[in-house]
């Protein structure tokens, strides 16, 4: 995305509450923001290291439960609870990264699924702490000094700040040595290793940052819906994140955000026409179709199509497809 386009988009996002009058539309915008953070988080692993985490809902849930429990049971205020939620999710990411990133591909997927499964079972069975399947109602709304962020507009700006920060963290990371190391690992691990890239170090780093962002999303979600239950570990959340990243364009900065907006707004728009089960069915079919027909996602496709449509060649050539199929091996 060009700098000008980015500024325009940011300004539009800032002005959104002024022309979205209905609280329902604002609610959709808030959910799109929270999922934007989650999708960016998954993209760090799936898009840049090439490792698919199908246990990402675990980090999301850890963030949500930590934040909810601290504010409910220990009367912490929102901000330190948010901080600890992010830190605990990052810690979980560190352990999973340390343990699992010796494994690649399907084996990494399985370890992350299993981890999410165990955590989810703990949330159901450790009733003294988590209240089991009944969940924890009454999570307090956050406040900023004397101002409560209870209103949808205020919460929208809180989420937007989180999206902005997450985006900047991703951009900083991806455009640094670290990002180049990650892409080198994704494309050809033995080669990257042979020129001195410390594989485990960078993969664990990506896992930690990714988990921390998912924890941030979880905390924001808990204080927005004001209710946390084992449903936060539902596989549906992970699937939604995967669809957003794959559809938007994995391994691109803007892709997860485009995917998040698209797949929050579309289901809401289609809600009248189709039930939730239909939506999930369509998600499944869509994932298959995307792999066949748009394997790089919307953003790289647009980036390729834009100059052609405008009939000009842009000053900065379109980046090569970020996830050219790696060599079989």
């Amino acid at each position: 995305m060009t700098r000008g386009g980015g500024v325009i988009l940011a300004a539009a996002a800032l002005a959104l509450p002024f022309w979205l009058q209905s609280p329902y539309h604002l609610h959709v915008a808030i959910m799109a923001g929270i999922f934007g953070v989650l999708a960016m988080s998954l993209n760090l692993l799936l898009g840049y290291t090439g490792q698919l985490s199908l246990g990402h809902a675990a980090f999301f849930g850890i963030g949500a439960y930590t934040s909810a429990l601290l504010t409910l049971k220990l009367d912490w205020s929102f901000w330190p609870a948010l901080g600890l939620a992010v830190a605990l999710a990052a810690l979980a990411g560190f352990f999973i990264g340390r343990l699992a990133l010796k494994l690649r591909g399907a084996y990494f997927v399985l370890v992350t699924i299993s981890f999410a499964g165990v955590i989810s079972l703990v949330s159901v069975n450790w009733i003294e702490l988590t209240n089991g399947p009944l969940g924890l109602p009454g999570v307090p709304a956050p406040a900023l000094g004397p101002w409560s962020l209870r209103s949808k507009t205020a919460y929208y700006y809180l989420v937007l700040t989180a999206v902005g920060l997450s985006y900047l963290v991703c951009r900083r990371l991806v455009r640094s040595r670290i990002g180049r190391a990650l892409v080198a690992l994704r494309e050809n691990e033995p080669l990257a290793e042979s020129v001195g890239v410390d594989v485990t170090h960078y993969l664990v780093l990506a896992a930690v940052v990714s988990a921390a962002m998912a924890g941030l999303g979880g905390s924001l979600y808990a204080h927005y819906t004001r209710f946390v239950s084992p449903e936060v570990f539902l596989f549906t959340y992970t699937v939604t994140m995967v669809i957003m990243v794959v559809a938007g364009g994995k391994g691109t900065l803007a892709g997860p955000l485009v995917g998040a907006v698209l797949f929050t707004v579309l289901p809401e728009a289609l809600r009248a026409a189709a039930s939730w089960q239909w939506q999930m069915l369509v998600y499944g079919v869509l994932l298959v179709l995307l792999v066949f027909f748009l394997p790089h996602g919307i953003v790289p496709w647009l980036a390729g199509a834009m100059p052609r449509l405008a009939g000009t060649v842009s000053a900065s050539p379109a980046p090569p497809p970020p996830d050219a199929p790696p060599a079989r091996g």
């Binding site: 794959v246 394997p295 790696p326």
Partner: protein
């Protein structure tokens, strides 16, 4: 002691069907290099077909089981030909995403078709347990154990003794050389996927009457199948059989002596521990992590 024996027997019944699931998955995974996350959906399909046959059409148990296996194999074959064959030269991650899509689509199609309410499959067996010395077993469970054992033995014979089985083993060892020797790889892949899916459907049809049938039952079945494959080693048929029995018994013991709420955690913990400590599986000889 009697309690331990009882747990072992129950574990064996469960483990027999886990072995069926695991054998199907380990063949697909090992031979086609496809991470089949939809495997559990074929299990669900088998259970629903058996429900339709027994409860709605009033067929006998064997007819319903046969139809379930045939339906699983047919859909598996279709899946291979329509979705996996065009992607054969793609990376393992690409086909994994496709199979995740199939998983979500199939599960929600079942949810739409059958509704979310769990169904129980009627069966013709008496409910009074057979008492064998210190242990007791419901006739249905005994029947399921025997059928699972027969299916496992049948799979083993197919792999070891038939021409198709030899071609499958050759493809597993070295796909390119097998192709050069005149093995039709496309045909073998379709047969493998159909065979694995049929076994998963059989497992669903067998366990369906013991437990309840509901659309998301395949999720846990997939994970258990993966635990079995990981325990047994990739493409390892005896390993998958032993792994299945081991997982069934471990779950029964975990549920009996630790906490029944964490029964399903046993499979997860096995996946994590085995992958971390001995990633080639407990019974494997070859290295399998790229």
């Amino acid at each position: 002691m009697a309690e331990l024996l009882q747990h072992l027997l129950n574990g064996l019944v469960l483990g027999g069907t886990y072995a069926l699931l695991g054998i199907g998955l380990t063949l697909i995974f090992g031979l086609m290099n496809v991470v089949n996350f939809a495997h559990g959906e074929f299990y669900t399909l088998g259970a629903y077909v058996s429900f339709a046959g027994l409860a709605l059409a009033g067929l006998n148990f064997f007819a319903a089981l046969s139809i379930a296996i045939a339906a699983g194999a047919a859909l598996g074959c279709l899946c291979e030909v329509a979705l996996l064959r065009p992607l054969r030269s793609e990376s393992i991650d690409t086909t994994m995403l496709v199979m995740i899509g199939v998983w979500i689509a199939m599960q929600n199609a079942e949810l739409l078709g059958w509704g979310g309410v769990a169904k129980s499959i009627p069966h013709p067996f008496p409910t009074a347990p057979l008492v064998l010395g210190p242990v007791a077993i419901a006739p249905l469970r005994l029947f399921v154990l025997v059928l699972a054992a027969a299916l496992i033995a049948g799979s083993w014979l197919l792999i070891q003794k038939t021409k198709l089985g030899r071609a499958m083993r050759a493809t597993f060892q070295d796909r390119d050389t097998a192709a050069l020797m005149g093995v039709g790889i496309g045909r073998i892949h379709a047969a493998t996927f159909a065979f694995g899916s049929g076994l998963a459907a059989a497992a669903g049809a067998l366990l369906g009457p013991i437990f309840l049938v509901y659309p998301s039952m395949g999720d846990l079945a997939s994970l258990k199948a993966f635990s079995v494959v990981i325990l047994g080693g990739l493409g390892n048929l005896p390993g998958a059989t032993l792994g299945g029995l081991l997982l069934g018994i471990a779950e029964e013991l975990g549920a009996g002596y630790i906490s029944s709420g964490y029964r399903d955690a046993v499979g997860f913990v096995i996946i994590i521990l085995v992958l971390l400590v001995r990633p080639s599986g407990l019974f494997a000889r070859q290295e399998r992590i790229a």
